[in-house]
Subunit: 204 residues, 2 copies
Amino acid sequence: MPAKGGRYHHGDLRSALVDAAIGVIAERGVRDFSMAEASRRLGVTTAAPYRHFADRDELLAAVAIRALTVFATMLSAAADAADTPAERLAGMAGAYVRFAAQQRPLFDTLFNSGLDKSRHPELQRAWEPVDALLSTAVLEVCDGDAVAAEALSDAIEASAHGYAMLLSDGEYGHGPDVVSVTADRAIASARALIAGRRALRTPV
Amino acid sequence: MPAKGGRYHHGDLRSALVDAAIGVIAERGVRDFSMAEASRRLGVTTAAPYRHFADRDELLAAVAIRALTVFATMLSAAADAADTPAERLAGMAGAYVRFAAQQRPLFDTLFNSGLDKSRHPELQRAWEPVDALLSTAVLEVCDGDAVAAEALSDAIEASAHGYAMLLSDGEYGHGPDVVSVTADRAIASARALIAGRRALRTPV
DNA sequence: GTCTATATCCCGATAGAC
DNA sequence: GTCTATCGGGATATAGAC
């Protein structure tokens, strides 16, 4: 990081821009993120970013890619902390919610930026580790039944995503323990979905 | 509705603006909605809307209020079509998803506009019918246990919301039957959540 | 690889005439 | 209640100098 009058000589402006973008998103939200503001924070011209990113969306995609490495790390840690397949899934649901709360700008970039995944192949590839974590965990629970696994995977993902979104939207308020309460509820819901599906024998 | 060169003389510009706004949102998304564009579509000046709405957010809030009447109608119809409390809840989960798919601009205005509910008391009041539908249905299932009811209510809402958001984001693709499949999955998840909670006796 | 400068565009909101 | 006109602000993106 350069001092006041400092310049970026090497390729580190690229990664500095990603950092700055995260800061801007944290303070103004993804939808109000702008290249110009990110540039201003680094003390470079609004033209500088265009040497490293074709346009605004490409910078956002770079932020999203960084977000996915953090997301995957949190999910993976939660999975490792449990010892049964079902508890691994439940733990990941909790981690999903905590990620949304603790890494709000990253979560928003992933899910509220309006980024078109299909237009950014690198971003699409960056999802693979996350997808893999979830699908292997769910396959264990379903004993290899791929059809049931997909439905259960979607169910737990949707539940965790819903809790995360509503929490992030302030629907549950902003108290000090809202995050852990919501994470616990996501965990409980994951358990209930697993148990409930067994009880109902509902493959869909 | 006026003819080409027509003017709005009465108070009907207000409701015409709401209609136009929905059109703009449908085509450009909530985040790219602008007063100016809505005005243009009606053939009025960009200054005209400010006689009826203090600012952009107030127009969006008016759209949100209209959205809630449609939302409540769909939820209510789904609830009436079922005959057990549990099935009423499941049906509402399905309606939640169908609302997101069939009324995309309205759904986006409610959940992706960045509108601050607490700043618009009328909007807050407009939520009450929807909240009432959900909470009475869930209380029936929980036999009056208010604590369990709140947790179950949040669980089903989060699940339906997650399905709706991910569907709306194109996460499930855009085939012709994606909507009904996703709605069915939301219904199945609601059933599983109810059954699973009973099996696990998880009040949280 | 960054800077200066600029072209272009769009938006929100207001003032005052009619 | 709408119009004309306009102020002020911010954004994306490009051209050319260094």
